[in-house]
């Protein structure tokens, strides 16, 4: 088991407010790690730090030993750490399939000029992307909505599209932002299975931020718990469930108690 991602003392300050305070943990390749915590615990900010959408105030993030924190976001994406977004999709006016094709940009071999001129390499790329997009559509079970306009999609499908867009970049590490939010039990279970398949069939390491405790317990290999920007616990699902500090943090914050 190798370490793919290491967060070392990551800290983010906004003026006087410390959003993330000296958080450290490692992620093993091909595992699913969830970050949980009450509202305002700093989970989203942590994700932004990892994907380098905000600068660190201190600490660093390493991908296979190489520092990726504070690099330009598109560079980090190129290195394989890709973040999905909750509700937004790239092109409201394009279909699901077109969206996924475009998202393959990261892996294009032809240059922009090549695409402008329509060179052979560009055409080959386009064909490759179309094929890959179809594969992703099948994988995620999006066949029924493949030609639906992204602007017409309901929440659950948008979420799936977001994941599809993330997959198109062939990530090493995929950061999922609340993938189960707003879903009923069946939908959640379906999504849990999908995320598991991401790990099992495509070897993607998954980091997710979530509030849906049952789902988190079911899916995670490891869990990191944040409160007020600090890591208060880390461990397997059963360890976390029985951790008094975690229970207190959740009860104290008037959030749903941990339970199955």
């Amino acid at each position: 088991m190798s370490v793919i991602l290491e967060v070392k003392g990551a800290t983010k300050r906004y003026g006087g407010l410390v959003a993330v305070n000296n958080v450290s943990f490692i992620v093993n390749e091909g595992k699913i790690l969830s970050v949980i915590g009450p509202n305002g615990a700093g989970k989203s900010t942590l994700f932004k730090l990892i994907a380098s959408f905000v600068q660190t105030s201190a600490g660093e993030v390493l991908l296979r030993g190489e520092r990726i924190s504070d690099l330009a976001p598109h560079t980090v994406a190129r290195k394989g750490v890709v973040r999905t977004f909750q509700e937004t999709t790239i092109f409201k006016s394009m279909t699901v399939r077109e969206n996924i094709i475009v998202a393959h940009h990261l892996r294009s071999r032809a240059s922009l000029l090549g695409f402008f001129l329509g060179t052979g390499l560009a055409k080959a790329d386009e064909a490759l992307f179309a094929e890959s997009a179809d594969g992703i559509i099948d994988f995620l079970g999006l066949q029924t909505i493949r030609d639906e306009l992204a602007s017409n999609l309901p929440q659950g499908h948008l979420r799936a599209l977001g994941m599809a867009i993330g997959l198109a970049t062939q990530p090493a590490v995929l950061l999922l932002d609340e993938p189960f939010a707003g879903m009923n039990h069946d939908e959640t279970m379906h999504m849990v299975a999908l995320v598991r398949r991401l790990r099992d069939e495509r070897g993607v390491t998954v980091l997710l931020v979530e509030h849906d405790m049952p789902a988190v317990m079911k899916i995670s290999d490891r869990i990191v718990v944040l409160n007020f920007g600090e890591k208060i616990a880390e461990g397997t699902p059963s360890e976390i469930q029985n951790n008094p500090k975690v229970i207190e943090a959740y009860l104290g914050a008037e959030d749903a108690a941990i339970g199955m």
């Binding site: 330009a72 598109h74 190129r78 973040r83 977004f85 940009h105 867009i165």
Partner: protein, 324 residues
């Protein structure tokens, strides 16, 4: 629209612009219209540049600066360097593109009205620079610029010397029309290629665009450079026609007009700026007959249009599948 239909439309458009219109003008005797339409064509090139800046989500009220700079590059090269106008065209455009990279790198981070205001200042700066610099001859401008000489490549005369032409106005019209067609062809291709997709991803969600590997800073600079190239060649072309150039040739009003041309036509459509330029320029010209009331009627119509069609004229066509 299938490919065949598209090519047919293009051919038809070329026929109208290059053959039918000049024939109509010649027949009607209204030779002043040559200049009017030439101006429309050139202005629509500059407006196309502004449209491209909109495409990456920035409001550009500075195209007048590049038109002026392009004009001066061309004028100086012709008068002091004795270089043929035809070569100064790409040189002017390239110079503007490079200049815009320098300027764009720091300012493209700004958004919305902030970016708009900086570009507004840019237009003023270029005018003042033209006034103040020793080699630009200040307020007296550069005059007596020669008509375009012949373009001779490998012994073949591709474009004859304008001094020898019986009807240089028609020649200028063709020049402008062809440049306009080429410009819009490039624009159309950009929009409908991957480059266009990426620009639209910038507009919609910059963070998501970054996630799929778009280098947003670089893409913006690229679009801005192309936009300024268009501004430069438009300005240089005007120099050839009017054979003179002053610091006041392109001012803030012009920058604003380029922007207005885009709005009016509709920012969601590649041919929006072409239509907008045509309407605004002709509209203004036609209203000349109303004398003192010209500006009043013009502005009232503009306001009325904003109230009725706040998304531009072409938004009338706004059905799914038509919008780009």
């Amino acid at each position: 629209m299938s490919n065949k239909q598209r090519w047919a439309a293009v051919a038809f458009f070329l026929l109208v612009v290059l053959v039918i219109v000049p024939a109509a003008i010649a027949a009607s005797g209204r030779v002043d219209l040559y200049y009017t339409l030439t101006a429309v064509a050139l202005l629509s090139i500059a407006s196309a540049g502004v449209w491209l800046t909109f495409y990456i989500g920035r409001i550009n009220i500075g195209q007048g600066a590049y038109a002026l700079v392009g004009g001066y590059v061309s004028a100086l090269l012709i008068t002091k360097g004795d270089i043929s106008f035809w070569w100064t065209l790409p040189l002017a455009g390239t110079f503007c593109a490079l200049l815009s990279v320098l300027i764009g790198l720091p300012i493209l981070r700004l958004r919305g009205v902030y970016f708009a205001m900086v570009t507004l200042v840019l237009t003023e700066v270029s005018r003042l620079t033209a006034l103040a610099m020793p080699f630009t001859n200040g307020a007296k401008g550069i005059t007596s610029i020669k008509l375009p000489a012949e373009l001779n490549i490998l012994g073949l005369t591709i474009i004859p010397d304008f001094n020898t032409l019986a009807n240089p106005k028609l020649a200028f019209y063709w020049m402008a029309a062809i440049m306009m067609v080429l410009t819009y062809a490039v624009l159309w291709r950009i929009v409908n290629s991957r480059l266009g997709h990426l620009c639209r991803s910038l507009q919609q969600n910059e963070e998501l665009a970054s996630s799929i590997g778009v280098n947003i800073a670089w893409l913006r600079v690229l679009a801005y450079a192309i936009s300024s190239f268009f501004g430069g060649i438009a300005g240089a072309s005007f120099v050839a026609i009017s054979q003179s150039l002053y610091p006041s040739s392109f001012q803030i009003t012009d920058s604003v007009n380029f922007m207005l041309n885009c709005f009016l036509g509709g920012l969601g459509f590649v041919f929006g700026p072409m239509l907008g330029t045509l309407l605004l320029y002709f509209g203004w010209d036609l209203l000349f007959a109303t004398g003192r009331f010209q500006l009043l009627i013009y502005s009232s119509l503009m306001i009325a249009l904003m109230l009725w069609l706040p998304n531009g004229v072409l938004s009338l066509m706004d059905r799914k599948g038509v919008r780009q």
